[in-house]
């Protein structure tokens, strides 16, 4: 079972990365100015109170023990206690996780749907008006700040022609999809700007590969050559571009969720930062990083599915 071994391998490789992630998130909190206990107690707290709370939070321990405590908190799923919500961070994050995942998924699907036909068109008709048009469109799309594009889209598609909701997040699946169309579109356009470029150039490269000539020399029609031989091989580099970019997409949800009022991890991060809810920020940072790591893992698996050559190594 080479696939199973491959997965196992990748999982084992994750261990040091995960440790590193928690370590960085932990240190991030420790270097922040301000003392959580003072923040929680406010000026009501006497020095004794603060010391007591510090002990309660484990902040009087040596750094390495604090880190172990933090790991314990993660292991129990509580991630510590939120200052603003006065509740365990873990369940709060869990609740907010799903909108973000939906957003990322939906926008990725959208990006792929946009990318494949446009990139193929641009590559096959290289140098044509269509190619130039697609290129220009995506240069502009890439340069547009997501929040600005979002505002414009809301104005156009929610106010002038009210097709999609202004903001928020629905209850049923259908409602959610409806709510997520605009935010996903904003993300998808930015993603597609990258993937169209990458897919276009790899299609062009693959089109002049020897094995495509072999396929043509077999008498296959150009459509068959394109879909059976060119696309699959071109997708590989685009998958890795997409994989690298998901880190951006996930980060970008911070802005998009705030803009569209989606109750996901990103908007929670922004409000927690402003609220100086350090344990929450710490938990969110870890969550985000783990999400990225998992998505990278998925990308790798997708890569394996497309490219038989990497299976064994």
């Amino acid at each position: 079972m080479p696939i199973a071994i491959y997965c196992l391998n990748r999982l084992v490789q994750l261990i040091p990365v995960l440790i590193g992630i928690t370590l960085i998130a932990f240190l991030l909190l420790r270097v922040m100015p301000g003392d959580p206990a003072t923040l929680i107690l406010g000026s009501r707290g006497t020095a004794a109170d603060i010391a007591k709370l510090n002990a309660q939070l484990g902040l009087d321990q040596p750094l390495w023990r604090q880190y172990l405590l933090f790991l314990k908190d993660i292991a129990t799923g509580s991630f510590g206690e939120s200052i603003a919500y006065k509740a365990s961070v873990g369940p709060l994050i869990w609740e907010r996780l799903w909108p973000t995942i939906w957003l990322v998924l939906f926008s990725t699907v959208m990006a792929v749907v946009l990318t494949v036909p446009l990139a193929l068109l641009a590559a096959v008709r290289r140098g044509s008006v269509a190619d130039a048009g697609i290129k220009l469109f995506f240069i502009v799309a890439m340069s547009m700040p997501s929040f600005w594009l979002g505002i414009l889209l809301v104005l156009l598609l929610s106010i002038v022609v009210p097709v999609f909701p202004v903001s928020g997040y629905g209850d049923t699946i259908l409602e959610r999809l409806h709510h997520l169309v605009l935010p996903s579109l904003v993300i998808a356009l930015a993603t597609a700007a990258l993937t169209v470029r990458s897919l276009r150039s790899s299609v062009i490269a693959v089109l002049s590969a020897d094995y495509v000539d072999t396929a043509r020399s077999k008498g296959l029609r150009s459509r068959q050559v394109l879909w059976r031989h060119v696309l699959r091989n071109s997708l590989m580099s685009t998958i890795s571009v997409l994989g690298v970019h998901t880190s951006w997409v996930i980060g970008g949800t911070v802005v998009i969720e705030t803009l569209f009022g989606i109750p996901g991890l990103g908007s929670l991060l922004v409000s927690s930062i402003s609220a100086r809810d350090y344990p929450m920020v710490q938990g969110l940072t870890v969550t985000f990083a783990v999400l990225v790591v998992l998505i990278n893992l998925l990308t790798d698996l997708a890569y394996v599915a497309v490219d038989p050559r990497v299976k064994l190594s």
């Binding site: 406010g42 006065k86 106010i159 409000s271 402003s274």
Partner: protein, 477 residues
């Protein structure tokens, strides 16, 4: 029918004794009920869970008779025991509002529907305090049983039941069918959607995704008014906009500086330019409510005066200050920019620091600030609350976290609370107000009206003088 209301901030807690932020308070007022209520016009108190009450002539004994049909949402009757439990809890150690109820020294449960409270000495704001959200009556037995868990799924005697709470997203309420007021609420349920950005709220209302919103940016009031599908309301509320000055820090320990700052801000321009006229310039930290001191004149806009005061205080070389600005509110952002521009002219450089609105209070409370743009609203119709909150030190908030201290104010405060309601008590408030005005622990900005808007098919949606919105009279067509 469900009413969808857009609000700007989410509640933090459902525990009435642990809340001091408006979003929490407003939600609690929907799900809990109190013995008495302020009337809708903010001039007197009305019966709540108590159908009647009697105060002894010496002001030391209060006797309440509960309604026979007062029930919690789970169907249990509200009893005297619940009242005693809740008020004792509100006066307890853990309560942030303990001082409001500690004057009650003993309780007597006469029967299930009658409770008597005794005070050592007269305490005039007592009845008003019992109208506070923190005096909400909770089901004693259930709370004992559930402990803190109770607030995950709170049970109250108010018009609505909190069905679902997606933090940061929305609160969903259903009608409390056990509510004592006949035929109320008129709607089946309500949904408070948390939409931080003012603009999104307005757009969602326009797009019909919301039925009502509170906090319409003033610059949009006119354009919303011209929209036929909407009703726009402007409610005078007990509210004062201020810049808190942390007098425990330099240079705010110097009264001249504080006064100079008051002179340096062009409040008329703020009211005209930003509020679009929906408000008036403030004279002190107290809103325009009962016993307001009409003789006080606002600090005029006088840059020269400000400069000379600064010079006098030894800061002629310019000053660098930071101002905390709550995020989300457009008005605050605009005001902050305007203040910044104004102060620049007086030679004071201001750095703006945006901060999540819900953490504003705890930040200033912790004393980690120089100036903070903020406001106060009264939860009662009696000035006592805000005097205690914004002027007295030491008190609950130490003069709204400015740490300003005035012995005479403290003295008057003690006195006022023992004086029966009437003109004499009014005079005391007026003196307090003028002392605050002179001491200037704040930059007094303005008293703004609360703006709200609803779609035409919504009737009865309004904001009360205490800044909360009552939904029990709302109907949706």
């Amino acid at each position: 029918k469900t009413l969808r209301v857009g609000v700007s901030n989410d509640a933090l807690s459902m525990d009435p004794i642990a809340s001091s932020d408006n979003p929490s308070i407003m939600t609690q007022l929907l799900i809990y009920d109190q013995l008495v209520h302020p009337s809708k016009d903010g001039t007197k108190l009305e019966p709540g869970l108590a159908e009647s009450w009697k105060v002894s002539a010496d002001g030391k004994e209060y006797r309440f008779t509960l309604r026979s049909n007062a029930k919690f949402s789970n169907g249990r009757t509200v009893t005297a025991a619940d009242v005693v439990y809740s008020l004792k809890r509100a006066a307890g150690e853990k309560s942030q509002w303990g001082r409001f109820f500690r004057p009650i020294t003993s309780y007597e449960i006469v029967d299930d529907r009658t409770v008597v409270m005794k005070l050592d000495q007269p305490f005039t704001p007592m009845l008003n305090n019992l109208a506070l959200f923190s005096a909400s009556i909770l089901p004693a037995a259930l709370m004992e049983e559930q402990g803190e868990k109770f607030f995950d799924k709170p049970v109250g005697a108010g018009p609505f039941v909190l069905e679902q709470w997606n933090r940061g997203a929305k609160q969903v309420f259903t009608r409390n069918s056990n509510y004592w007021k006949e035929g109320k609420p008129a709607i089946d349920g309500a949904e408070l959607q948390i939409i931080g950005e003012d603009n999104s709220r307005v757009l969602k209302l326009k797009a019909g995704e919301l039925d009502a919103i509170v906090g319409v940016p003033f610059n949009q009031v006119a354009s919303l008014k011209s929209d036929n599908s909407l009703n726009v309301g402007i409610a005078p509320v007990f509210r004062a906009e201020l810049v808190q000055l942390n007098t425990s820090k330099k240079p705010f320990d110097d009264e001249r500086i504080r006064r100079a700052l008051n002179y340096a801000v062009d409040k008329d321009a703020l009211v005209k330019g930003i509020l679009r006229g929906n408000g008036r310039v403030a004279t002190s930290s107290l809103p325009v409510m009962a016993y307001h001191n009409d003789d006080l004149k606002p600090y005029p806009y006088d840059v020269a005066k400000a400069k000379s005061l600064l010079q006098e205080a030894g800061y002629s070389g310019g000053l660098k200050l930071t101002l905390l600005v709550p995020s989300g509110s457009v008005t605050h952002r605009q005001v902050a920019s305007a203040i910044q521009a104004n102060l620049r002219e007086a030679g004071v450089a201001v750095e703006l620091q945006t901060i999540e609105a819900s953490s504003m209070f705890s930040t200033t409370k912790a004393g980690n600030y120089e100036m903070a743009l903020s406001y106060t609203t009264s939860d009662t119709i009696d000035p006592d609350q805000l005097v205690g909150f914004t002027a007295v030190n030491p008190e609950r908030a130490n003069a709204f976290h400015t740490q300003w201290k005035d012995a005479r104010v403290n003295e008057l405060y003690e006195l006022e609370r023992r004086t029966l309601d009437g003109p004499d008590r009014g005079k005391m408030f007026q003196e307090i107000e003028s002392r605050v005005h002179d001491g200037a622990p704040f930059i007094f900005l303005y008293n703004q009206a609360e703006t709200f808007a609803s779609r035409k098919n919504v009737e009865g949606f309004q904001v009360l003088p205490t800044s909360n919105y009552s939904l029990e009279d709302v109907t949706v067509k």
